[in-house]
């Protein structure tokens, strides 16, 4: 039996309080850890225990950020990488899901293409980088292509497995009601695979950042990956560290957006 809020028992109130306290402890520890890390980094750099020329320091990172801001480069570089990553992410998601649908639809195609997918999956896609630059030209298009290439195979495999895991009896049920394959796809298989779709998105957030940064390492004239390579070549490790921090923030935000989507889905359906 459920009680209304006013007449919770003492025991239940205690339970709720304990739960809340736990949450507070976890969150404050998480923040505390970060603050402690930044503080120690700064302190050790200041007293010379670590060489801030190699490790940089929080204050130097902030200075570098300020410089990038005043020169107007900050948003240019962030924007370039973000654009490449998002383009790679969306192209991969849409194209990968479409290919997975085609493979689900036709068992013959699936069987024929299986060995190719397996080989492509184990191939380190970055090895194709130089080839891609020659084919599509250096710059943004090459970077997006590399990004898509790195993410798409695993997307196809994940989504195909999700589609194929759909209960045979559920498909039989739809068939016994006279459903066409098209109807089965849209009314059963796709909504059934929604949770897998969301976890695929989560994986692709990480993968598409790998893709775009790898692409920028190979060929670029702007972007956070470019700054990292450039910074390390001219030994400006402040720049490398700053770019890495910015990457952390952007990737975190993107993951957070997908997590929000998941929360919304779960609220509606679970």
């Amino acid at each position: 039996m459920k009680h209304s809020k006013e007449n919770y028992s003492k025991e239940h109130l205690l339970y709720l309080k304990k739960r809340k306290n736990n949450k507070i402890i976890v969150l404050s520890s998480q923040i505390g850890l970060l603050v402690f890390f930044i503080f120690m980094w700064e302190l050790l750099a200041k007293i010379g225990a670590i060489n801030s020329f190699i490790t940089s320091s929080p204050s130097k990172i902030i200075n570098t950020l300020g410089e990038l801001w005043t020169s107007g480069d900050l948003f240019k570089h962030m924007g370039v990488t973000l654009f490449e990553t998002l383009a790679g992410f969306f192209i991969t998601t849409i194209l990968g899901t479409l290919i997975a649908i085609i493979l689900w639809w036709s068992e013959m195609t699936r069987k024929i293409l299986e060995p190719y997918i397996v080989v492509l999956n184990s191939l380190p896609k970055i090895a194709l980088g130089p080839l891609i630059i020659i084919w599509v030209g250096s710059g943004t298009s090459a970077i997006i292509t590399i990004c898509v290439l790195i993410c798409i195979i695993i997307t196809i495999i994940t989504m195909l497995n999700a589609f194929l895991s759909c209960d045979e009896d559920k498909i039989l049920l739809m068939k016994s009601m006279g459903a066409s394959k098209f109807t089965i796809l849209f009314k059963l298989v796709l909504p059934y695979s929604a949770p897998n779709f969301i976890s695929m998105l989560k994986i692709n957030v990480g993968m598409s950042w790998v893709g775009s940064i790898m692409g920028e390492y190979l060929s670029s004239s702007a972007g956070l990956g470019y700054l990292i390579v450039y910074g390390s070549q001219v030994f400006r490790l402040d720049l490398v560290m700053t770019s890495t921090v910015l990457l952390c923030i952007l990737a975190g935000l993107m993951y957070f957006a997908v997590a929000l989507l998941e929360k919304y889905y779960n609220k509606k359906h679970r």
Partner: protein, 247 residues
Amino acid sequence: MSLLKLEDVSLNYHSPKGETIALQNISFDVNDNEFIAIVGPSGCGKTTILSLISGILKPSSGRIIRNDNSENFIGYMFQRDHLFEWRTIWQNVILGLEIQKKKNSQNFEYINSLLQKYGLYDFKDKFPRELSGGMRQRVALIRTLALNPKVLLLDEPFSALDYQTRLNVCDDVNNIIKSEKKTAILVTHDISEAISMADRIIILTPRPAKVKKIVELDLQKYGTPFQRRECSEFSKLFNEVWKDLEN
């Protein structure tokens, strides 16, 4: 005239290892409004018979004759309810109408009357996870009934439920089938379930399955399946069917 007739139906399965005879010369009639139970050792091909009747599989030889040409002749009910978790109860029960593009007020009225009659109307807008196992199975039955099939194919529809629920759902489903005047073919490995529900039991041999014996029952007079379980003939019938299954 019987509603459905199986004449010398055989079915072979093909696999790379060879050919397996699943069903051999199966013949029986199903009359209108009759409740038939098919029992047999596990793996003998009981479910295959339902797939043949529903037309999902074609027999290797023999004929299946249906003396009725209504559009939705068959309705399927499975071991698990297979409700779609992302749809509400209402959206689940109208699935068939949606597939066949028959969403109209007349059909909706019929579904609403079913929901009302079987105590599910207040749960229309809930999701399947909010319902008990027994209620879910009733929803699954109404989803099947929504297309107004002549014959219901029940593939072990109670075996995923706990014993207590099973007895209740058994009564519910029997009640619904009788009051909606449906013909039913139940596949089960549970002898007492078969005896308590059916008018006739078809006993199959191990693979390749043949019809071993057809047992006529006359327990309708005792009331619900639960009450039939308590009648004096029950244990005698149980032993009879049990022996036929054994050897």
